[in-house]
């Protein structure tokens, strides 16, 4: 990606040339990051059931997988995550459990804003933590969405990939794109400029839009030396208030989709998998007890799945809070005993080579953020 060169040539607006450019002159980091944003609230107790906790069956008998894969005497993995299970077995994955962003109000709206902006307090942030991390590392990213999610907003080098499927339409001409880039201002000018570069580069990407197809194509694009280093994909519909399912049903199907998306990234990345970390992000976990409609309501603690060649110590990292009523957060949710921002920071530190202190201060604006990198990564 040569966006900065192009902007200079096209006479970019003052807004853009005013962006701080970190690390641009030094060698770019080798690593890659893919974030799977699980919208609606992943039920960590369904994905990674603590089968050794006697309260599990009592609290949610309809929602526990009948044939999970045993990880250790206490935790198991939903059978639809079997590909992820193989990565665990080969030391290429890890799980953080009973974790979330420190957000306890159980609103999708607020929770997703916080999970994406990385800012716990204060008014709406215009930028996302992944966007800020990209800028700190001076690397380019690609959002696998039609729109620009808050998570990546603010990134200087960003494009999106969710190709048109529009009968009768033609690819935009480079000449028109160049004119539009020069006549717009600010972010719009930069976006037309990036589109101009994409048209020139003619990457010849497949016209797919399903999550598995997007993961495969983007894994390939990221494996190229000049390709994007950071990506995100949304997987919606985790908000299973009713008929969530144990072995079959919506939540188990979604877990299967997560498994295949990770696998397709792995296949697409090829050798670049060794320098990659893929991890999940969700706005909150769900209630411990199943509700009256065989589903779960908005909660607090959830689980995070981490995979990739950069993982060095497979396993489950958790300070397990227990599932009994008195152990639950406000008598209903799985307690979160680990700040998930620390997990995100560990992934950024390992993949993008930024020091933890810089990530804590510049990306999460939380200088005291705990460092958990050594639990999983070689650090």
């Amino acid at each position: 990606m040569q966006r900065r060169t192009f902007l200079k040539a096209a006479g970019a607006s003052a807004v853009l040339t005013g962006f701080p450019v970190h690390g641009y002159t030094s060698e770019l980091p080798k690593g890659r990051i893919a974030v799977l944003f699980l919208e609606g609230g992943l039920d960590g107790l369904a994905a990674v059931p603590p089968v050794g906790d006697p309260q599990l069956e009592r609290m949610r008998s309809d929602l526990v997988a009948s044939k999970p894969l045993d990880l250790n005497p206490f935790f198991a993995l939903h059978q639809n995550l079997s590909g992820f299970g193989k990565l665990l077995a080969s030391n290429q994955a890890a799980i953080f459990h009973a974790t979330n962003f420190p957000y306890i109000r159980r609103s999708h709206f607020e929770g997703q804003r916080i999970a994406q902006s990385g800012m716990i307090n204060g008014a709406a942030s215009p930028t996302g933590w992944l966007g800020r991390a990209m800028d700190e590392a001076g690397i380019a990213g690609r959002s696998l969405t039609l729109d620009t999610p808050l998570l990546v907003r603010g990134a200087v080098e960003l494009d999106s990939f969710y190709p048109a499927s529009l009968l009768g339409s033609v690819n935009p001409d480079t000449e028109l794109l160049s004119l539009l880039s020069q006549s717009h201002e600010g972010l719009s000018a930069a976006t037309f400029g990036t589109l101009y570069e994409k048209a020139l580069a003619d990457e010849n990407l497949p016209r797919v839009r399903d999550p598995e197809g997007l993961a495969l194509a983007t894994g390939r694009a990221m494996s190229a030396p000049e390709g994007p280093r950071v990506t995100m994909i949304r997987i919606p519909e985790f908000d299973t208030h009713a008929n969530q399912g144990n072995d079959t049903g919506l939540h188990p199907e979604l877990l299967g989709l997560v498994d295949r998306v990770i696998e397709n990234f792995r296949i697409g990345l090829g050798d670049a998998w060794q320098d990659t970390v893929i991890f999940t992000l969700t706005e909150f976990g769900r209630t411990v007890r199943e509700n009256g409609s065989a589903g779960t309501d908005h909660g607090y603690g959830s689980a995070g799945l981490v995979a990739g060649g950069l993982v060095d110590r497979a396993g489950i990292v958790s300070n397990w809070p227990g599932l009994g009523e008195k152990d639950q957060f406000e008598g209903r949710d799985l307690m979160a005993t680990l700040d998930y921002r620390s997990v995100c920071a560990a992934c950024i530190e390992t993949a993008l080579g930024l020091p933890h202190d810089v990530i804590a201060e510049k990306v999460f604006l939380e200088p005291d953020l705990a460092r958990v990198t050594p639990y999983v990564f070689n650090a």
Binding site: G40, P172, G292
Partner: protein, 482 residues
């Protein structure tokens, strides 16, 4: 401000044939209250000269929709009971979908109205409120009801109070299914007690109760507790029920809609929300909705949202205050609030508003005088060379009321809509409109009609062909940021 610019700020723009001789204030007055209009045409034939009414036969009442929903479910259940092979079963499912769902008709109706309807500010308000009270598609369960919801619970409620709209929204089946209230059974209700005895599933579900407070009315800034939410959910328990052909005794559509409160599913006893007490029984919901609707937090929350939508990020605290005052003084009387929004939106603004893609698309087609979508007799076209189906067009734009999406709806922040893929779509659609929509105006004529700046005209003039100039005009800063 010229009336043509007022129409772009508040509406969808004038077609070249429309009279724009009304003064701005008269035009706003004419838009504030009125009858629902539904233009329609049978067939797209290159250029639509005959725009009539949308046919009554394709305007489905709620009981029509209920019948269709139940027949579709019944057909599939019967087929499943016969243990057919999977290919046959799949065909029966697909046929039932095609035979009984009506969302293709609903989406065409919205598209025809968007292209030709003169009530353009009312359409914009309908879209704003339909997004505020988002109902997304919930699997196969509510697709028949969304079009009715947008047209009646939202569009049909623009002339009354906000509280009336909220009440209509939370008792509409599209919302009841979308936010799971049809599964919300009071913990001590008769149905829940029977289920505890017999081992069936029935119990509380706080999804709609939570969003009613958080997204629809007071918002989290009000400060409320989980108890408040649980009590709101308990007040909502018993409201709405998904009709199922196996119900004994059978629920008829009228039962379900006109007396949508089922006592045997409702949580007995009084409830307390935000310090106010509500009695047992169906009257509590209306009281709760009224109290939430006139809360000061609601007025502030909605005033901010309205000015962000219409004025954009350039909106000032004065704009918010003016709308909030209109809201408070009128107890949320929507025409009064909408008038205040219009007045502030027509003040000279510091910067334009980067509009939703669906607004840009209809402005592009209307202002250029294009015709584009299929007619109501062409819902299942066989051989297509151009994407003229509105359901696919809206999906491609990433703005579609019938899609699966989250309860907080589409963002009103411009950054959300500025992406390489969104800009790719703008250029593709501008080109499609030029080549396949028979626009009556050239780029230069559009620039004249809108009074675009010399700078924009110069940029447009650098295009080599009439098509290039048309695309440059519709994708110019001045056209994209109204």
């Amino acid at each position: 401000m010229s009336t043509s610019r007022a129409a772009r700020r508040l509406g969808l723009g004038f077609r070249p044939s429309a009279g724009t001789d009304l003064a701005e204030s008269d035009w706003v007055d004419a838009q504030l209250v009125g009858e629902f209009t539904a233009p329609g045409y049978a067939r797209f034939d290159g250029r639509n000269t005959e725009i009539g009414e949308w046919p009554e036969a394709l305007t489905y009442s709620l009981s029509d929709r209920m019948d269709r929903h139940k027949t579709r479910v019944r057909t599939i259940l019967d087929a499943e009971a016969k243990q057919l092979d999977s290919a046959t079963l799949a065909r029966i499912r697909a046929d039932a979908w095609n035979d009984y769902t009506v969302h293709a008709q609903d989406i065409h109706r919205l598209a025809h109205r968007g292209l030709y309807g003169e009530d353009q500010f009312r359409q914009r308000l309908t879209w704003f409120w339909a997004n505020h009270f988002t109902v997304g598609r919930k699997g196969d369960e509510n697709i028949e009801f969304i079009g009715h919801y947008v047209d009646t619970a939202i569009g049909g409620a623009l002339d009354g109070s906000f509280a009336d709209m909220v009440y209509g929204v939370v008792t509409h089946p599209a919302m009841g299914i979308y936010l799971d209230n049809v599964y919300n059974v009071g913990e001590n209700s008769q149905v829940a007690r029977i289920c505890r005895r017999d081992g069936c599933q029935a119990g509380p579900n706080d999804n709609l109760g939570r969003e009613l407070m958080e997204l629809h009315t007071v918002s989290p800034s009000r400060g409320y507790t989980e108890d408040d939410i649980r009590n709101a959910a308990n007040i909502l328990s018993g409201w709405g029920y998904p009709p199922h052909p196996n119900d004994r005794p059978p629920f008829t559509p009228d039962d379900w809609w006109q007396s949508a409160f089922f006592k045997q599913r409702a949580q007995p006893g009084g409830k307390t929300v935000l310090g106010r007490d509500y009695p047992e029984g169906p009257a509590a919901l209306r009281r709760l909705v009224d109290d939430l609707s006139i809360d000061a937090s609601t007025a502030d929350f909605l005033s901010r949202k309205l000015v962000l939508h219409f004025i954009g990020e350039a909106a000032t605290e004065d704009d918010v205050a003016a709308v909030r005052e209109a809201w408070t003084a009128s107890d949320g009387h929507l025409p009064t609030v909408h008038r205040a929004v219009a007045e502030r939106t027509l003040e000279p603004a510091a910067a334009g508003k980067f509009v939703w893609p669906i607004i840009w698309l209809f402005q592009a087609m209307r202002i250029s005088g294009a015709d584009f979508f299929y007619g109501y007799e062409q819902l299942n076209p066989m051989e297509e060379v151009v994407q003229r189906r509105p359901e696919r067009v809206f999906e491609e734009l990433g703005f579609d009321f019938w899609s699966v999406r989250q309860p907080d709806g589409y963002s009103d922040r411009s950054e959300a809509w500025i992406s390489t893929e969104h800009f790719d779509r703008r250029i593709r659609f501008a080109d499609l409109i030029y080549r396949f929509g028979n626009p009556r105006l050239s780029a230069a004529e559009i620039a004249d009609a809108l009074g675009l700046s010399a700078k924009t005209r110069d940029m447009i003039a650098t295009g080599n062909t009439p098509r290039d100039r048309f695309v440059l005009c519709l994708c110019s800063k001045e056209f994209m940021e109204v």
